[in-house]
Subunit: 118 residues, 2 copies
DNA sequence: CTGCGACCTGGTGCGCGCTCCAGGTCAAGC
DNA sequence: GCTTGACCTGGAGCGCGCACCAGGTCGCAG
């Protein structure tokens, strides 16, 4: 018995709401999650770990579409080349975000410097 | 005559749509923009430069509320201390974004590395 | 057996950041 | 004077990423 986790505990551990966990599952971003005899979800440690990865990417600003494609590609057996190509595309997006954020920080620092010295 | 810019040209130069320019003005993020005798907007070079700053911050992920407060604070005469405090808060947010994006990139690179080597 | 709380499904609502539309006005070119 | 096209206002619509709700089920504590 691989240490199953109730929905409430999964929510607590991942920092997501029950609604969001169900939403992600519907969208194919996580799971499918196993059910007990009564139909309630039982998350595995692997599920929780995967949710951590997804949350990390989402926090970086990736959209639901990208997360779904990410999940689908990593779950697929075939198409390693496709996988890597997709991952590299996402990587480019994130690096672009890094550039945008650095540019904004530079603007902000100029202003802080200017007003800091009156 | 300080080289006035028609709305279409302003849109073209800033990369924003006419609707977005009007929306930003309504929200107090830019402007108020001067009008000609017929009521049409005429942007100044300063307006366009400011829109550039706003766009830069927006691209970094700042929300409309923050942009409005940013604009209001920089337009105000008084409260330099408030200004700097606010700017520092925004700066913290952006640095947090930097951290999130770097974390996601690290996850991504792990996957790329893993699948790149099969 | 009863109560209770955690969880289920299906559906609706919401805030953000635009985007689009209808119906009208203005100014320049022919 | 007439057409054309850029622009105006007010308001409705939309996609995303959830949040919320009603009405029902399950299983354990007492």
């Amino acid at each position: 018995m691989p240490h199953l986790i109730a929905p409430g505990d999964a929510a607590h551990r991942t920092g997501l709401s029950l609604d969001t966990l169900r939403y992600y599952e519907r969208e194919g971003i996580i799971g499918p999650i196993r059910r007990d005899t009564g139909g309630r979800r039982r998350y595995t440690e692997d599920d929780v770990a995967w949710i951590g990865i997804v949350t990390c990417l989402r926090d970086a600003g990736l959209g639901i579409d990208d997360l779904r494609r990410f999940t689908a590609l990593l779950a697929a057996e075939n198409g390693h080349a496709d996988r890597v190509a997709f991952l590299r595309r996402i990587r480019e997006e994130l690096q672009e975000r890094l550039r945008s954020t650095r540019a904004a920080l530079s603007v902000l620092d100029d202003k802080i410097d200017y007003y800091g010295r009156h």
